[in-house]
Symmetry: C2
Subunit: 204 residues, 2 copies
Amino acid sequence: MGRVSEAKVKLMDAVLELIWTGSYGSTTIDQICERAGVKKGSFYYFFNSKSELAVEALGSSWQSMQAEVDRMFSATIPPLDRLQKYCDFSYKFQCDMKAKYGRVLGCPQFSLGSEVCTQDDTLQKKIQSILDYKRKYIESAIRDGIASGDVPACDPSTKAQMVMAYYEGMLMQARIKNDVGLLSKMATGVFSLLGVKDGALATV
Amino acid sequence: MGRVSEAKVKLMDAVLELIWTGSYGSTTIDQICERAGVKKGSFYYFFNSKSELAVEALGSSWQSMQAEVDRMFSATIPPLDRLQKYCDFSYKFQCDMKAKYGRVLGCPQFSLGSEVCTQDDTLQKKIQSILDYKRKYIESAIRDGIASGDVPACDPSTKAQMVMAYYEGMLMQARIKNDVGLLSKMATGVFSLLGVKDGALATV
DNA sequence: ATAATAGTTGACTGTTTAGTAAACTTTGCT
DNA sequence: AGCAAAGTTTACTAAACAGTCAACTATTAT
C-alpha cells in the first residue's frame, strides 16, 4: 500500500548521467535532484548520501548491461570472436554517447574508480567488483582460446589483466581526447597482446 | 625588490599532492592553503582560481619530470631498452608513492584528465599537451626500433597510441586496486603490442 | 633613511551546499 | 468511508565554500 514512486529510478538515472558527463566530485545532490525532477526531501527519503545512491545506481546499471555482455561472451561463440564483438560493441557505444552528449564518455567504472578510490571505500569496493566481473569475461574467453588452440599458451588471469588495461586505457584516452576514432581498431591491440595474428577470426 | 616568497611553490606542491592523493573536485582552495601553510589572501594574490593553479602546477611538475624522461629515452640507448627503462621507472615510482602515501597513485595526468575533460577546458588542454609529449617519446623509440630492425614494421604513431593506452591503463588499474604488483611485468605487454619477443633486449 | 615594491594577513561578504523536520498528499486495504 | 502505509513538499538550519579588501610587513634600490 501507500503511493508508488519512480523517484528512486529517476535519481539513479540522473546521478549516472551527471557523473559520466562530468565527475563524481562536481555533481551535487541539488543537481541530481533537479535533473531527476525530484525534491531533496525525497532524495533523503530513499538514500542517505550521494555515495549510497551512486553505489545502487552503478549496481543496477551494471545489471542491465550484463545481459548484453553475456550474449557477446556466449560460450557458443568462438573465443576470439567474443573479444572482437566486445570491442566493436564498445566502439559503437562510445559513438552513440558522442552523438548524444557531444562527448566520448569512456568507461564509467574506470573514470569513477580512479576519482574516488582514495576517498570512498564502499563506492570503491562496488566499482572493484564490477571491474572484476568484466575481467572474468575476458579471462574466460582467453582460456577458451587457449583450449581451442587460437591463443598461444599463457596465464589467462595475467593476460586478461593486460587486455583489460589496454581496453580501459583506450577508452580513457578516447574520453580525454574526445576522439572516438582511436577506438575503431581497438581489437588489433587486444590480439597483439594475445600473440594472435589479426584477421585469424572464424567469423565476425 | 619587495619581499620574496615561497608561497607560490608551496601552493603548487600542495595542490598536486591533494589532487593526486584525492581528486581535483574534492580539493578546496581552503584545503590547498592549509596544506601549503599559506593564507587565502596570498592564494588570490598569485592565482585567480584553482584551475589556474593546477595548470601552472602541472606544467612545472612535468618540466622537472621531463629531464629524467629525456635521460631514459636518450638516443644513445637501444630503442627497446628505453621502453624497458621507462616501465621499470614507473614501477619504482609507484612503489615509492605507495610507501609514502600508502596508496598507488597512478598517472596524475590521466586521472585528472579523465576527471576534468568535460568541465575545464584550459586544464584539459594542458593535460592533453603533456600527454602528447609523453606519447612522442614512445613513438620515437618505436620508430628507432623499426629502423634498427628490433620492431616489426608498423605505423609508429598508431602503435605509440596503443602502447600508451596499455601503459596508462595499467597505472589506472594499479591505482584503483591499490596494487603495485600489477606493474612489475608491465614491459611484457608493451613488447607484445610491438610484436617483439620478451627478452630480446640488448642490455638492461 | 626612506620610499617604492612585493608579499602577507585577517576579517569580511554572499553563495552554495548537505542535511532535517513537520505538514501534506496519494494509494491501497478493510 | 476511513485508516494506515508510502511518498512528497516546503521551508528551514548550519556549515563549507569562493572570493574581496584594506591594513600591515618585509625587502631592497637609491
